[in-house]
């Protein structure tokens, strides 16, 4: 049975599915942030889905996408569904950050993207460390690069930048050349 229906059938009843999009054969499901752990347990344990391998966890900053386009964007007829429904109405902007989980079912070789939107005011997501240990460093890197905190992570520290680094470099409003931070090692002798 088509993966989309199976996921719908598995996650639908508890209305976990906020949005489901399909792009070039990659199915991506958006789920509410507060019950990400239940969704992951469901996706892993239901027999006909069986996503038992966490391929990657990373953050996305949708600052530029949410901004209403200044110049009218001409619509191309590119096939594939429109991913972001253009926020035409002037309502509150959708949450800025996004955490994407890439899941993989080893037996059926199927891949699924699970997305969670994170408000700028409340940058807290439950950590998946208890389900898959593979999320240890990717979550630390998402924290290092975007500032998204992961509740329950064993040692949430900066991974790639040095600890005293203050900014979150991969955010869209951070300049490419950086703001001139320097690292000074203090030696005890």
């Amino acid at each position: 049975m088509d993966l989309k229906k199976r996921v719908e059938q598995c996650l639908g009843p508890e209305n976990f599915v906020v949005a489901m999009t399909e792009c070039q054969g990659d199915l991506s499901v958006e789920v509410p942030k507060r019950n990400i752990l239940d969704v992951m347990h469901l996706l892993r344990d239901t027999p006909d889905l069986g996503f038992n391998f966490l391929s990657d966890v990373f953050g996305v900053d949708n600052l530029d996408l949410n901004k209403p386009k200044k110049k009218p964007k001409k619509k191309e007829e590119g096939e594939g569904a429109e991913v972001e429904e253009e926020s035409k109405e002037k309502g509150p902007l959708p949450p800025r950050f996004e955490v994407v989980y890439l899941l993989l079912c080893l037996e059926r070789n199927e891949r699924l993207q699970v997305k969670v939107r994170v408000e700028e005011s409340d940058m807290e997501v439950d950590s998946l460390y208890l389900i898959w240990k593979a999320s240890d460093w990717p979550e630390r890197e998402a924290f290092d690069m975007y500032g998204i905190r992961f509740k329950g992570h064993p040692n949430l520290k900066r991974l790639l930048m040095w600890d005293e680094f203050s900014a979150y470099p991969l955010r869209k409003d951070y300049p490419l050349e950086g703001q001139g931070e320097e690292r000074h090692l203090i030696y005890d002798d």
Binding site: L160, M161, W162, L176, H184
Partner: protein, 169 residues
């Protein structure tokens, strides 16, 4: 040709002793292969059988800065590694030479980003720059030859600063 200062170095013995010391230093440049990125792989090929830096006496790569003469910085230095790199340079014993191999070490290369040090000459005085990304092993061997030329002209006994003996070769 640059302006050559009138040669008023030491007597016969000093120059002959200098020649001997320079000969010893130029014939056994023990490298400290500080290979971080892709240039590190090309340096490894230069050390291996194909191009064999051991022919010039650079047989024994010593990773302890105390025993190294030539610091070959192959690859990108990012801002997290910069103080470590500076500390290692300071620990090296005196007649030391720094070869900055590749565009990343010399000027930050293609990575004009928040995390990359734009060239190691912001930290340490560099003697020889090698262009290329990554430079071919022959380029590294040519850098070693330039190191040999430079050591031949240095004057450990009569202590003339190398820079004021402006030799434009």
């Amino acid at each position: 040709m640059g302006k050559i200062q009138a040669y008023n170095g030491g007597g016969w013995i000093a120059t002959k002793l200098e020649w001997l010391i320079n000969w010893g230093r130029k014939r056994s440049p023990w490298p400290l292969p500080f290979g971080t990125a892709c240039c590190g792989i090309e340096m490894m090929c230069a050390l291996a059988a194909g191009y064999d830096m051991a022919r010039f006496g650079a047989e024994r790569p010593s990773f302890s800065p105390r025993q190294a003469d030539v610091l070959i910085q192959a690859g990108t230095i990012n801002l997290k590694l910069a103080p470590v790199f500076k500390k290692i340079y300071d620990q090296m014993a005196e007649p030391k030479c720094v070869i900055s191999m590749g565009a990343c070490a010399s000027s930050g290369g293609v990575f004009r980003t928040y995390a990359t040090l734009q060239g190691i000459d912001k930290l340490v005085p560099v003697d020889i720059y090698i262009p290329g990304c990554p430079p071919r092993p022959e380029a590294l061997l040519q850098a070693l030859l330039m190191f040999i030329e430079k050591t031949e002209k240095s004057q450990p006994i009569t202590h003339k600063k190398y820079s004021d003996l402006l030799v434009g070769t």
